[in-house]
């Protein structure tokens, strides 16, 4: 059996202050992750499916070391992650994370400058960086907007700009937190086309979503998340009759009935 590219093993995590909030609101969980286990294999196209507050974003933040678990561990190529400066830098080159809100990670004066941040951090010279920036912007369909400031881009374009910033690192694994949130159907279709092209080029892609149809249609593999745990996983076909994946059930948030 092949070693997964990245593996989350029994992750537990609580945000600071969550326990105090849980005392004020009986019934509220204090653990954002309560034993999440997930394996991501090379070449996968995986959708992490769950309701709001199920822990999807928190789990994704663990995958590139942005958050460190209270308990459990993340393994990359079978080796536990290190959280030192060098180890994290090496990990973030391999595992690029794209946040749900693009304004959480875009900062520079122009689009091209923002995309150049990652390659320059890797120590590439300016000529090599320009090549990577051009390739990333072309891959995501924004080459003609390279010299525009970020606030002159639409929300959908800023989402793609954030992806371009991640692609410029040439990662093995691209992790996207709710990439289709706030996009119209045409924007979703365009984004998925770009993701398909990246996957066809050999990149492993993981995205989180609460859109069942998107998970079914796009992913090769789906992991269902609820209350900070992965409660089911497999191909969309194998989960077709899963009670969680019946749209009406999902909409009524009865995913909690899953054992």
């Amino acid at each position: 059996m092949t070693v997964p590219l990245l593996e989350a093993c029994d992750l537990h995590y609580a945000y600071p202050g969550a326990a105090a909030a849980a005392r004020l609101c009986p019934g509220q969980r204090c653990d954002a992750l309560a034993g999440s286990t997930l394996a991501i294999h090379r070449g996968a196209r995986l959708a992490l499916l769950g309701n709001n507050g199920s822990g999807k974003s928190t789990l994704l933040l663990h995958l590139n070391g942005t958050l460190r678990p209270d308990r459990g561990e993340v393994r990359c190529d079978g080796a536990p992650l290190g959280y030192g400066r060098r180890a994290l830098a090496a990990l973030r080159q391999r595992v690029a994370l794209v946040f749900q809100d693009p304004d959480d990670q875009l900062f520079a004066g122009t689009l091209a400058q923002d995309v150049s941040f990652g390659p320059l951090n890797l120590g590439l010279d300016e000529a090599a960086t320009r090549v990577r920036v051009a390739a990333s912007l072309t891959a995501i369909g924004l080459a003609d907007r390279a010299d525009l400031p970020l606030h002159m881009l639409s929300h959908g374009q800023r989402k793609r700009a954030a992806i371009a910033g991640a692609l410029a690192l040439q990662p093995d694994l691209l992790v996207l937190d709710e990439p289709t949130a706030g996009l119209d159907p045409a924007g979703v279709a365009l984004l998925l086309d770009h993701l398909d092209a990246l996957h066809a080029g050999g990149m492993t892609v993981v995205l989180s979503t609460h859109d069942i149809a998107l998970a079914r249609d796009w992913a090769d593999e789906v992991a269902l998340m609820h209350d900070g745990r992965i409660v089911a996983g497999g191909s969309p076909e194998s989960l077709r009759d899963h009670p969680c994946l019946r749209p009406a059930v999902f909409r009524r948030s009865r995913i909690s009935e899953v054992p």
Binding site: L61, N64, T66, R85, A89, R92, Q93, A96, L97, F99, D101, D103, D104, Q105, L106, F107, A108, G109, T110, A112, Q113, D114, S116, F117, G118, L120, N121, L122, E126, T129, R130, V133, D147, L148, P149, L150, H151, M152, G165, A166, L169
Partner: protein
Amino acid sequence: MLHAIDACAHTNRWRTQGGPMALFCAGLMGCALLAPPLAAAPFVAAAASAAAVLGARVPAALFFRTLLVPAGFLATGALALCVTLDLEHARLGFSGAGAATALATTLRAAAGVTVTLCFACIVPTAQWIALLRRARVPAVVLDLLLLVYRTLFVLDAEFLAIRRAQDNRLGFRTARVAGRNAARAVAVLFLRSLQRAARLERGLAARGYVDRLPVLTPPSTATRHTYAVAALVPALVAVAAVVLGAGQ
């Protein structure tokens, strides 16, 4: 206005001429500050306006309408200088010396403001930050400038959203309610700016940020010829100002 000026800086004809425009504006600013104001200010303002409107094709309406805002402040300050308080007769009077000072100060300031606006409308932020980098300004200062520039627009969008949300729920129905809600909007914006800063820090950490924000230098089409022209115009303005100033 902030958005209009920024958009103009990123779309004008000379947007990739950051170096020459910085030289041009620095020269004109030097003339405005050092040359005799009565002679220099009209030339400086005319040269800056012509460069912006005729050269870089900045929309004239935007350029001159924007100048009206500082002009209002300058006029108010000039009026105050023209007035003197006669303590003997306990009345306000006109001061000839004050008026002369007001004229010189206002002309100097108006010329300086025109040059500043010319620079703001023509040179994109990325270009002038690159110039500061070449001038060996410490990297941490430039990183801060980049973040402030980006954050300004993010928070401007947030503030607009907050104001619209209040307005849609009749938050500005009366002057009293409007004042109270404007203060609430500012308070909310303060909290949001802290949250935004925390989220941006996390986002940048996920992209490999440690203690620097390196970015590419924006493309420049400046040549020796454009630098020469950019230096020549302020020099001519200075000569004209000195010659005319000596004759006065």
